[in-house]
Structure formats: C-alpha cells, structure tokens
C-alpha cells in the first residue's frame, strides 16, 4: 500500500467523526502543538531567564526592582515575589512540564507495556501476581503515591526533574499494564496467534509480530489521556512542595508561592501559570478523547477493541434493544454493515426515498403499479393480516451517504402464519426484522408503514402504526403483543437474575395487576412448554446449557401470548440436534397458539422445516415470495435457484456457487440488483427494476418473483391480471 493510501485509511475514521468532534480534535492538536513549540523554543522566546533577578535597567546599581511588579511592556506578565519575570517562568514551566510528561510516560511505558504483554501472554501465576500488585498500586490514591515516591527518590537521589518524573511515571504504570494486559489477553485468543504457532514461529516472534503489533495501537490513546493527568499531578506535587525544587520554573510551585500575595491584590502571579495549566490540560484532553473516538472504531473494526463505543447501541434504555456486539457473526452482518459512529453526519442523498422519483419512475414500479386491491402479498386472502408492511425502507447513515439495507419491501403476515425470511449476509433480512419492532441503532432510518393489527378489544390492543410509534408505545408492545428472539440467548439474560425474576419483570411490566401466584403460574406453564421443569425455575441463567437458555428466551417471548414473534437466527449458535429440538418446539407452538412467526435465517432447511411461506431477499429487496412448497419445488427467480443449487445437502454430488458478490448498497446498480451475477441476464435487466409478479407457470396465486424472465415483471408490460 502506498503511503498515501495508508494515510487515507487511517484518516477514514476521522472523516467519519462528527463535525464538532473534528473541530475539537483540531483545536486540541493546535493547543498541544503550541505548547510543544513554546517548550522547545522557550529560551529563545522568553526575554529573560526564568531565574534571572530583574533589576531596574536605568539604575542597575540600585539593586533589584521592587518585587511583584505589575505587568508592563518590560514584563508582559509582571514579576513575582522573587523578582523573576512571570512570562519567562510560564514558558520555562512549559518546558519542565513537557520533559516530565515525556520522561514519566517513557518510564510507565517501559515498565507497564512489557509487563502487561508478559502477564497477558503467559497467564498463570505470574499474571495473577502482577495483576494483584498493579491493582494494589492502582487503588492507592495516585497523588499520595506520587508524593511518597517523589519524597523517597528525593531522599535517595536528589530532588529534581528526574525524581518528579519518576514519581509521576509510577502512577501510570498500572494503567499501561492493565490496558496492554487486557488487550493481550483478547489478542491471544485470536486464532491468528495460534496460527502463528502452527506455522512454526518462535514464541518471541509470536509475542512481537503477532501480539505486540496489535496491542501497541492502544498506547497513543492512553498516552494522550494520561498526559493531561500527568500535568495536573506534576502541578499538584509542586503545589504541595514535593515536585521540582525551586528555583526551577514549575507552575504548581509558582502558584503555591503566589497564593500568599493574592490577598494583597496581586493577581498576575497566580493567574498566568494557572491559565497555562488549564490550556495545556484542555488541549491534551481534547486530543485524547478525540483519538479515543477515532481509534476505537478502528480497533473495533479489526475486532480487537475491548472498549465500548460511546453511547447506547440502540433506542436508549430498552434492555432488549441491544444489538449483539463484537465481531460480526457468520450469520448476518447487515445490521453492522451500515452501523457507524453515533451522530455521524448525513445528507439527503440521490438515493433518497423513492417517492422523489415520481409516480412513473421505474424505481417505484414494483409497488405503485400493482392494482391497489391485489391481495398478492397475503397468504390467506380475506383474513386480516396481523402484520402489514408497506414500502419499508431501512437505512443507516454512513460517511459515504445512506445505505438502504432494506429498500422498498411489502409484506403481509396472517395470524398463525410462519414466514421465512431468507438471504445471505447483508441482504437486509436482519435489518428488516429489527425494523419491524423499531429496534434500530442510533442513526438508523426507517420509512414506510408497519402496521400491527388490533388484538381483540381493550386499551393497549388497538391497531398501531409502528414506524411512528412513540418509545413508550413501542415498549408497551415489545414483549407483550410482539416479541423478538435473538441468536445468542446468553447475552439477553441478566446473569445476576434468576430465571423466575426475568419472567416476573417481563410480566409485571405489562400486567402490573397480576398477583404473584398468577405470575408464577404463567412462568411455570411457559417454561414447561419448552421442556424446562418447575424445579429449575429459580435457577440462574448460567446454570443452564445453551439450548436451555434459548428455550428460556422463547418462553419469555411467548409468555404473554403475543400476536407476533420475530425469531432472528434463533438456532444459529446451537448444535444440529438442539436446533432440531427447538424447531420442533417452535412448530408446536404455532400449532397451539395463533401466533404469527417471522423466521429470519440463512438456512433454507430451517425454512422448509418450519415455515408456511418464504420471502427471499437479495440486496435489500424481496426477489421471490410464496408458499414454501411452491418456491422450493419450482423457484422462479434466478437468485433463488442459485441459492438452492449452492445449498449442500446429503444428496449433493456436485457443487454449485453463484459467481460474484452482492452489490454495494450505498450506490446500488440500476435495474435488477442481481444482474451482475445472474446467469440469465439480458440487456433489459439493467434498464428496469423488475416488479414482483406471479410467474406464468406457477400454480398458486401468491407465488411472486421479481424477474423479467416472467411476463409482467417488466414495469412496461401489462400486469397478468390485465392481460387476461
């Protein structure tokens, strides 16, 4: 990679940061650089030596000027009680501060980083001893520690810059140690480290080339954050008289000296060093916080950061609203694909809502040109759907403009129906499922209509439009009328709460009037349905296996008899046998209760086993939809055909794959989005957006495909109904 590309790559997260953040970082950098400049060039800038007694130039023999001269053209910041020029002392103080920060950091780095690496990599007793020691140092009040060390070093060697720097440095050793150790621990778990061993690399090589290089990236952040703190510690030491001894210029000490004169109206001796401290600390903090924001997402993208991004993941305080964290999982990454640092800027892009394209624009063809009464999206015409989705678009802000992970989806779900939503990573299925209950990360965009039908009568059960629903309305619906079951059950259960408490909390939130006995009864029944005996109801989540925890999540999801359950890859982290058990339970559940199920999965087998209807998604759009038997036996869209052919089953004798990869959704191609990979592509395919229509050779009404191989799918064609 060229140096320029490297730079561009490092700068990318900076560009992704918000405008304010960028400005603050720049200000911080300028302030810090200013200080470095002053500190380096100090002697040439200052008119006097910081320790030079000021005499009256006109009457040198009269001796020193009266001390505490007010600021004047000769002495810009005045002189202090020792008769030193304050300006010179402030500048000199900058140099002392810089030296102490650098030396102390060096000490902390040289001790903390290797120890952290060693402890993290080797583990065992050495690790435990070091961690205990460092924790002891860390919990010790840092200023007190610095004083003790400064005093000791002063006695043992000589008080001076070196002693002060060591005192400050020792305070920060535990911080470097902790960050480096924790980072090493997580990097050590990465397969590439074991991979290096399997290649025959020596331990030293593994630690340096594979571990250290990845860990060291976190050092600049700690450095800038600690540097500000170090400046304050140094000043405090000086103020208390344990720092750099006089007459060396040091801000803290100077302020302490000057406090004696404040009462006599002398302001300049305290103010200027004080301002210097504030400015430097502010500058360094701005840089540190900024770097933290910029570098952290970078580390996170590399899967190495243990630190959280700022801000709650989604929708504020809702406990069930967090996205799975960490490295993108195999199953579906589209929610992460578009996620970006909170608060990123965006503009209305050319890919804005399709409404802007006008009624005749090809982009609207798949929706607007359908006859308004066509029951095409419903499995059971005539039955009021429990969930109705119209022209749903779900997007994320990115530095390059909005990414529409779901781009114009229409769906109906009948009560008691199970709909499978399949597709590969990034097709939009997870974004769709999250948007259905409005569980979007900050910066997520949702437009269109999602209507949840009324559930009987009574307050709180009326038909509701979820896209514009308030947070309170959504909270009252989630877990009661509609619930979501995720992939990793353990991250959804509070390890410190008994299973029964999870249920009590969930039930009471929606049915505050239920008696405790009734709550208990509901809990036990729901769990028993999932095969969990009442004797285990009061256990903690960690006392259950992975499959049991997923059963608990399912039980939690259905305990209040919701109208709608959305299951997002509910069995992906489970083994095949446990998966089959859970799928059986789901199937049973649907037979007994009239719950509508949306099953999001990448596994066609799961759809075939559990669903009535299937919707195949590709690049943010539904490309084919219909009854499971129909779609599996006679797939009409080339993508569905390819997906089925590439699925490896026990009968597979020959491998198939779909060439190419999915399109960039920030700048999607014109026409059919599958065109670049489609074996049947024609010129016309890149000109029009195919609409969902019934393929001519299909036996059932509600089988639809969006491919112009089928007459009627080209928006220029008449609709099949009009043809007849």
């Amino acid at each position: 990679m060229s140096a320029r590309a490297r730079l561009a790559r490092t700068a990318a997260p900076f560009r992704a940061a918000t405008r304010t953040a960028q400005v603050l970082i720049v200000i911080g950098v300028l302030m810090t650089l200013g200080f470095v400049f002053v500190a380096t060039l100090g002697p040439t800038l200052a008119p006097y030596e910081p320790t030079q007694y000021q005499v009256d130039p006109e009457e040198p023999e009269a001796g020193q000027l009266p001390r505490l001269e007010e600021p004047s053209s000769d002495h810009l910041m005045g002189t202090n009680r020792d008769g030193f020029d304050v300006f010179a002392r402030v500048i000199g103080g900058a140099r002392v501060a810089m030296i102490v920060v650098l030396v102390s950091t060096l000490i902390a780095l040289l001790v903390g980083v290797p120890l952290g690496l060693l402890a993290g990599y080797r583990g065992g007793r050495l690790d435990r001893i070091l961690v205990t020691t460092m924790d002891a140092i860390y919990t010790f009040p840092s200023l007190l520690l610095a004083i003790v060390v400064a005093f000791l070093f002063g006695e043992l060697f000589a008080p001076g810059v070196a002693s002060a720097a060591s005192a400050v440095g020792i305070v920060y050793i535990p911080q470097y140690f902790r960050v480096v150790r924790n980072h090493t621990l997580s990097v050590k778990q990465e397969p590439f480290v074991e991979g290096a061993r399997s290649l025959g690399a020596k331990e030293r090589t593994v630690i340096t080339r594979y571990v250290f290089f990845n860990v060291v990236q976190s050092v600049p952040v700690i450095f800038t954050l600690n540097a500000a703190d170090a400046v304050l510690t140094l000043a405090s030491l000086g103020f208390l008289g344990y720092g750099v001894p006089p007459p060396a210029p040091e801000w803290g000490f100077d302020i302490q000296q000057a406090t004696q004169d404040i009462t006599s109206g002398v302001w300049w001796t305290t103010m200027w060093p004080g301002v210097a401290i504030i400015l430097l600390v502010t500058g360094l903090t701005l840089v540190g916080e900024g770097l933290n924001d910029v570098i952290n997402p970078l580390l996170r993208a590399r899967g190495l950061s243990g630190t959280k991004l700022r801000g709650a993941p989604i929708g504020g305080s809702d406990a069930d609203a967090s996205l799975p964290r960490g490295r993108a999982k195999a199953a579906d990454r589209d929610a992460d694909d578009g996620a970006d640092p909170p608060g990123a800027t965006t503009s209305t892009s050319p890919n804005g809502p399709h409404r802007a394209d006008g009624p005749d624009g090809p982009a609207t063809a798949d929706r607007d040109s359908l006859p308004p009464t066509a029951p095409v999206h419903s499995a059971t015409a005539g039955v009021e759907p429990v969930l109705k989705v119209r022209d749903l678009r779900v997007g994320y802000r990115t530095p390059r403009g909005p990414l529409w992970a779901v781009d114009g989806v229409d769906l109906d779900l009948a009560p008691g129906e199970a709909l499978g939503l399949v597709g590969e990573s990034g097709c939009g299925k997870s974004s769709l499922s999250r948007a259905l209950l409005n569980l979007m990360p900050p910066g997520g965009l949702v437009t269109g209509q999602i209507t949840l039908a009324a559930r009987g009568d009574g307050p709180g059960n009326e038909e509701i439009e979820l896209v514009d629903a308030s947070r309170r309305q959504l909270r009252s619906i989630r877990g009661d009328r509609a619930s979501l079951v995720f992939q990793e059950p353990m991250t959804r259960l509070d390890p410190l709460m008994r299973v029964s408490s999870h249920f009590r909390e969930a039930i009471k939130a929606h049915r505050p009037d239920l008696s405790n006995d009734r709550v208990r009864e509901l809990t036990e029944t729901a769990l028993a349905k999932m095969g969990i005996p009442r004797t285990r109801v009061d256990n903690y989540p960690h006392e259950f296996s992975g499959g049991m925890r997923q059963r608990i999540m399912l039980a939690l999801g259905i305990v209040l008899q919701p109208q709608l359950v959305i299951a997002d890859e509910p069995t992906t982290s489970l083994d095949v046998i446990v998966e089959a058990q859970i799928l059986d339970i789901l199937a049973e559940l649907r037979r007994d209760a009239d719950v509508g199920l949306v099953m999001v999965t990448h596994n066609l087998g799961i759809v075939a086993e559990t669903c009535d209807r299937v919707a195949v998604m590709y690049a943010g759009k539904i490309v084919e939809m219909g009854p499971v038997e129909q779609v599996f036996n006679a797939p009409a869209h080339p993508y569905t055909q390819g997906l089925m052919a590439s699925t490896i089953s026990l009968e597979t004798t020959e491998l198939h794959s779909i060439e190419g990869s999915p399109p960039d959704l920030i700048d999607p191609p014109d026409g059919c989005r599958f065109a670049a990979r489609c074996p049947a592509v024609m010129d016309r395919c890149t000109e029009v957006i195919p609409r969902l229509t019934r393929p001519e050779d299909t036996a059932v009404d509600d089988h639809l495909a969006a491919c112009i191989l089928h007459p009627g799918a080209d928006p220029a064609d008449p609709l099949p109904d009009e043809r007849s």
Binding site: M1, R128, E190, P191, F192, E194, G195, A196, R197, S198, L199, G200, A201, E203, T205, R209, Y210, F213, N214, R302, G303, R327, A330, E424, S425, L527, A528, G531, I532, P533, R534, T535, S545, D575, V576, I577, E579, A580, Q581, D584, H602, L604, G605, I606, V607, A608, E609, E629, F632, L643, M644, S646, I648, S649, L650, T652, T653, L655, S657, S661
Partner: protein, 433 residues
C-alpha cells in the same frame, strides 16, 4: 453395506498401507483452573481415548457438535495442544512427546486452516507479510523479493489474481471468501503434507462456500495433500470426505467409509445427527425424527458407561445408568404430567437438588420415603424408562431412599459393517481403561 475391500474403508491394519498419521488411544485433558485461592483441580477430558488413522492422500472428516472435542483433537494432532497420553505416529515417528523445538522443523509439513478467516489473519501484517511469514520462519526463501514472488504465485494458485495486486493490502480490505483463500494460501505456502481444516467454510455464505470447497479439493488433488476436515455439517462432510469419524464427548463413536456411514449408520448418535439435519425439502417436513433428548453434557463429568446413554433414543439396560439419570427422568416427567401430580411426586422425592449422587446410585433425602419407594417401585414395574431395568435396589437409608444401579460398561469399538462402532446394540464389549 459397504465394501470392506475398498482401500479407504478400513483401518491400516487391514489394508496394510502405511498411514500418514496413526492415532492410538489419544487423550488430551485440560486442568480447569480455579480462582486465585482454589486448590481444587478438575480436568476436562476433551479428547478421551481416540484411536484412528489417516491415510496419505485422503480427506478424513471429523464430525461432531460443539463440545465433542473435535477442535481439541485437531489441535492435538498438530501438537498445538499437548496430548496427556497415547501416541501420535506421524510417518513412523511418535511425535506425542515432542516439544516445541522438536516440532518446529515439522511445522512446515503440518498446516492449519481456521474457521473464521477474519480472526485468523494478523491485522497488523500485509498480505505479503502474513502469507510469506512461514517462508521466512522456515528459511525457505532468500530475501524479500523472492518471498513476494512466491506469495504472489501462491495467491494466484488460490484464485486471487493477479497476485501482485493483493501483496500490499491488508486482509481487512478483502471479502470473507477472499480472506479464506488467503488463509489457505498461507497454510499451503510451505508445501505441507497434512492440513487440518477446522470448519473452513462455516463462516462463509452459502453461495461462496462451494467455491472455497472446490478450491480445497482441487489443491488436494494437485498437491497430493492429506486433509483432516473438521466440521459439524454432515452434508458437507459427506460430499468432501473419503472417511468420516463421529466424535461424541471426546470419544470416536463410529468411523469408517463416508458413504456407507451415511447410508447405513450403525451408531444411534450418528443416526440422530442425520435425522436432525433440517432438509431443504418441505415435503419431507413430517418425517419421523428420532431426536435425542437434552444436550451434550460437559466433558468434566462425562456420564458413566456409554457417554451417549442419557440422550440415546434406543438406550437399554447395559448402557451405564446412574443416579443422575433418575433425577433427569423426574425433571423431564414433571414438564409433561399435570400440576397436581407434580406436587405429589415432588412431595415424595423432596428437593432434587438435595439428592446425593453416589458411585452406585443416588440417595433421596425423601420428603416422604414411603410414598417415594412406592412411586419408584411402580415406575419400575411400568418400565417407565429403560433406566429402571438397571435398578438393582430401592432401599430405606436413614430418613431417605437409596436407589442403586447395576454396572454399565463403556462400549469398546468393534468392527461392524466394515466400520468401527462403539455401541452395546452390537453386543456388549466392555472397553478397557
């Protein structure tokens, strides 16, 4: 039925060929570390007595669920985990006891491909550095220029063309499929003989999987590689592998020729695995699935006798019943019988948590010993569960009731239908420990 004469269907002892790797009674146990003050030492028996062999040029599939020990076994074969006992004969040399230094020259012949391509590449190294590093480690190239040349050639070999274009980028800039190609390139650049591929396509999308698998097969044919293919996906294993071993809780329960194993599974666990696969065919939705109950227990305290017995749908008397099975029986029963019955039975047994598990059975600190012994006798007569066939005694023990079980030996591998199978259904052959 399989044909025992086919070269790959039987172990080395039958066909006489020299195996590339001969694994005999291999154990890999890990100590479980307690807290800072804990003196208590437990072990996880991740691999617990595995015997099989890998023939040169074959693809051997190691199939198991998570917790079966398949990854540990793979790592042990490459000596990335140290075997506790047993032997590991690689081309005539027992490398089980080799230390890291003795292993180092062998490392270029043994390669590893991981499941997650995102995590198996060092993000701090460019493609050239990462893929070329093994060449430098083993001193196989003179200088950087030659290394880059070799790397570029290898990249083209795995379908990343033109190779030069990839040399100076970082792995993070590639797609999942490309990254996995990179991992394969790195594994193969030292021209190894034996490659352990641990779920190499599990993290990839369906439409990309086939391409990576095809590449792996092509390289295997062209370079004469031998693969150990570790997977939980039976369908992929069947397509890819010549022979397959099914691992359950640290034991190989069945191994042999892939096709015959799938067409006619001889071990109940193998059969369950096959039944459990969700089929992409809605017409077969209502087929009979004979699913095992529960989940794989942890390898710290494996069940007695046959390790699969608590879950086995066809388990019978000699399979190793013990006290824990009786407790699990009650727990499961109480999710299906009605509430009043649960109350009365629970009153009889007392808290199950308080029951005392012993070597020969279990003692209930019974709430009502008379009622409990009556209940147990009744369940025994009803043969409510095969475990009752193994009950040898139901006796008063102080204020409680002690239930004792007869011996249930661990099944040893026996040759059935040209395969190795460890199950009492084929005759009780106790295994020696």
């Amino acid at each position: 039925m399989s044909d025992p004469a086919a070269a790959t269907t039987s172990s080395s002892s039958v066909d006489g060929g020299e195996p590339l790797l001969d694994v005999v009674d291999l154990h890999t146990h890990f100590p479980v570390r307690g807290g800072l003050l804990s003196r208590h030492k437990d072990v996880v028996r991740a691999v617990d007595g595995v015997t099989f062999d890998i023939q040169p040029g074959e693809v051997f599939g190691l199939v198991g669920e998570s917790g079966s020990g398949k990854t540990t076994l793979g790592r042990t074969l490459l000596k990335l985990a140290d075997p506790t006992s047993g032997s590991l004969i690689y081309q005539g040399r027992d490398i089980a006891g080799y230390d890291e230094k003795q292993m180092r020259p062998l490392r270029r012949e043994l390669a590893l491909v991981f499941q997650d391509p995102n995590a198996s590449l060092n993000p701090a190294m460019t493609v050239a550095q990462g893929v070329g590093h093994p060449l430098l480690i083993h001193g196989l190239v003179d200088g950087r220029a030659q290394m880059r040349e070799r790397v570029a050639a290898m990249l083209e070999r795995v379908g990343l063309t033109p190779g030069e274009r990839f040399l100076d980028i970082y792995p993070q800039d590639l797609s999942g499929g490309q990254k996995q190609r990179l991992v394969i390139a790195r594994a193969l650049i030292t021209e190894p003989k034996f490659v352990v591929a641990d779920e190499p396509v599990a993290a990839l999308d369906m439409s990309v999987r086939a391409r990576v698998l095809e590449l792996m097969l092509e390289l295997q044919r062209d370079l004469g590689l031998t693969y150990l293919f570790i997977t939980h996906d039976l369908a992929t294993a069947r397509f890819l592998c010549d022979r397959i071993g099914i691992l359950y809780l640290g034991n190989m329960v069945e191994w042999g020729d892939a096709d015959s194993l799938f067409d006619d599974p001889q071990h109940p666990y193998t059969r369950s695995l096959l039944d459990a696969i969700p089929l992409p065919d809605p017409r077969r939705r209502d087929r009979d699935k004979n699913l095992p109950v529960g989940e794989m227990p942890d390898a710290q305290t494996p069940p007695k006798g046959c390790r699969f017995h608590p879950r086995c749908p066809v388990a019978f008397e000699p399979c190793g019943w013990e006290g824990a099975d009786l407790l699990a029986f009650f727990e499961r029963r109480w999710t299906v019988v009605d509430g009043d019955q649960v109350e009365s039975e629970l009153a009889a047994t007392g808290s199950l948590q308080a029951a005392d598990l012993r070597d020969d059975g279990v003692r209930f600190d019974a709430g009502n010993p008379v009622a409990l012994s009556k209940l147990l006798e009744q369940l025994r007569t009803e043969q409510a569960h095969p475990l009752f066939d193994a009950v040898t005694g139901i006796e008063r023990d102080g204020g409680g009731i002690a239930v004792t079980f007869g011996d249930g030996p661990e099944p040893d591998l026996q040759t059935i239908a040209g395969r190795q199978v460890a199950c009492h259904l084929h005759g009780t052959v106790p295994r020696e420990r």
